[in-house]
Amino acid sequence: MARGTRTSLEVSVRAGARIYTGAMLVFLIVPVLVVLPLSFTSGQLLVFPLPGWSLQWYEDFFTNPIWTNALRNSVWIGVVVTALATTLGTAAAIGLHGCKARWAGAVMALLVMPLAIPVVIVAVATFYFFAALGLVGTYAGIVLAHTVLALPFVVVTVSATLQGFDPNLVRAAASLGASPFLAFRTVTLPIIAPGVVSGALFAFVTSFDELVVAIFLSSPQQRTLPRQIFSGVSENISPTITAAAVVLLVVSVALMGIMELLRRRSEKLKMAGGQTT
């Protein structure tokens, strides 16, 4: 760790640490990647070596009504959840940013609370509550429950973007005669857009990947993709499940990857801004 001469012990510790790190990264990444080749197997069993390559399991996934229905449910529920959570969460984040009162911290804590509680408790509590309201086994029920889980991500991401936002800009727009809505649309929104988009992506992935709430709230008609995979794995794993898992994986990794790019871009901008001012 010191500059200059290194003892042989130090060199071997460093080499050891690197090999260890490499091994652990293999441990982290291999299980994620292993479903990829398996989903293209021409055989019936999920074993290596693959007997040959085939798209048959993807064909099954995209034509079998059980899977197409699950995919359609997941996409639609995800889109509605994203719209709801992004609208509510962005408004709340802007409100919190402009509010200097002491209780603003308590509001923030309340809004992120769903992340802190084990999701199985949230799911069961929602199930009892929705059972009384007749919302179990409805699309509305799943959408509302997913929105509760997605909202904290939007609030947190948009709040983070607002950290660097100067409220005087809105005041300037207002003094020039802009209505609050016009000021929001032309001044605030373009500046916080990366945060809003990140929050929206986060909200979509949260809903798209969500399983536990779906287990309790969905009837067979509303089965989402994760819910369908879960029942498949609990019964017997057919290769179609690996195709479904790859679809789930590609969507979430792609969207989260876009989010990461947005995050890095805004960090760079922040640093550049910090240098000029």
């Binding site: 990444i29 994620v32 074993v47 509680i117 069961v124 509590a125 929602t126 994760p226 789930l248």
Partner: protein, 385 residues
């Protein structure tokens, strides 16, 4: 500003906070019995235990059960009383079915003639204990305790005692997973923090991609990898390390492997951000004063990284205690944790009071961890990125 926050606050209060409060209340709620047996629960309050209740109590029960006859409430009441007095389901349904159409001369004799349990003061004692609007029955059950007919708290029979074991198992697995994550994650985060920016970027991606992948996909992948014909066993056999496949999945080993895999990023990412913030000049200063690398590590580096270890360990532990899906997929019947039993008592066994009591204890465990470790670490550190 208030108008902008209000919709979210109302939304979360109504669809999150209220359901959680109602869920916790279910752990002590006993309205079912007083509502089904209004006359009996009122009459029984007068009764002194030790002997059989007087005729009016029996008469009250006859009228209550007569009112319930033919309604679904009778079956619900029978199920509810069966939790407290095993075998009572049959007693209640039989009594409801065989009840005379009009009030008999002696309700006491009539009920005892239908079922001899009504001549047992102990059964009446339990019924009286269960006649309040709230009950400690579910909370006690979730601790393997019950009240005996005299009202004092005693252990349940050994055959029925499953929950203390369950908490022990949940804690053992969660602490084990947390320690494994610290042991595996610490060197990885340290190597990442000292790597060149380009290398660190690649390492970060290797951690973020699994982190972004759904827990379900990762647990499924482990089932595939660890099964007898799976890649891990096949590789070990090919290497000659083993002759027959090892049992790696649907047991505790599988649970540890998959849970560590799922939770490791929650350890590495906060630890990495703390380690990246440590100025190398601290380490150089210590070394230039003659400290050996081992000493630099233990007296400078390790103490500086402790906030990251504590933050990561808190995140891993509170996630682990609430796990449900991963143990359900990769564990065996004896590896299930609290979350599984909350789901089980909600869906399969339909004992919502007990599910709520288990949920209440899980919530207490999570809240206590946050309060103790969160205070220690600082809540603002408790985020992954």
């Amino acid at each position: 500003m208030l108008a902008l926050m209000a919709p979210s606050v109302v939304f979360v209060c109504f669809l999150f906070a209220l359901p959680i409060v109602l869920f916790l209340f279910r752990a002590i709620d006993n309205a079912e019995i007083p509502e089904a047996l209004p006359r009996t629960t009122a009459a029984i309050a007068e009764w002194r235990e030790g002997e059989l209740p007087p005729e009016p109590v029996y008469a009250a029960l006859v009228s209550d059960l007569a009112a319930l006859r033919g309604t679904p409430q009778l079956a619900l009441l029978a199920r509810r009383l069966n939790y407290a007095i095993p075998g009572f389901r049959g007693v209640v349904t039989r009594t409801g079915r065989l009840l005379p159409q009009s009030m008999p001369e002696s309700p006491k004799a009539a009920l005892i003639a239908i079922d001899a349990t009504w001549a047992d003061p102990a059964a009446w004692g339990v019924l009286r204990q269960q006649s309040g609007k709230v009950t400690d029955f579910y909370l006690l059950s979730a601790l393997d305790l019950k009240r005996d007919p005299s009202g004092s708290v005693v252990d349940v029979d050994r055959d029925h005692a499953i929950f203390v074991d369950l908490y022990g198992r949940t804690l053992t697995v969660s602490i084990g997973v947390t320690l494994l994550c610290v042991a595996i994650g610490y060197p990885v985060a340290a190597v990442m923090a000292q790597a060149t920016p380009a290398a660190a970027n690649w390492l970060l991606m290797a951690i973020l991609v699994p982190f972004w992948t759904s827990l379900l996909v990762r647990s499924t992948a482990w089932v595939i990898l660890l099964q007898n014909e799976g890649l891990v066993n096949k590789t070990l056999i090919w290497l000659g390390a083993i002759d027959a496949p090892l049992a790696l999945v649907f047991n505790r080993t599988g649970v540890y492997i998959a849970m560590v895999h799922v939770l490791l990023p929650y350890m590495i990412l906060p630890l990495y951000s703390v380690m990246k913030g440590i100025s190398p000049s601290h380490l150089r200063a210590a070394a230039s004063l003659g400290a050996s690398p081992v000493r630099v590590f233990f007296t400078v580096y390790l103490p500086l990284t402790m906030p990251g270890v504590a933050a990561g360990a808190t995140l891993v532990f509170v996630s682990a205690v609430g796990f449900y899906v991963t143990p359900a997929l990769v564990g065996g019947p004896r590896d299930q944790m609290i979350g599984y039993f909350i789901a089980y008592f909600t869906n399969s066994a339909v004992n919502w009071g007990l599910a709520s009591a288990l949920g209440a204890f899980l919530l207490v465990l999570v809240a206590a961890t946050y309060l103790v470790l969160g205070k220690l670490v600082g809540f603002e550190r408790l985020k992954v990125r």
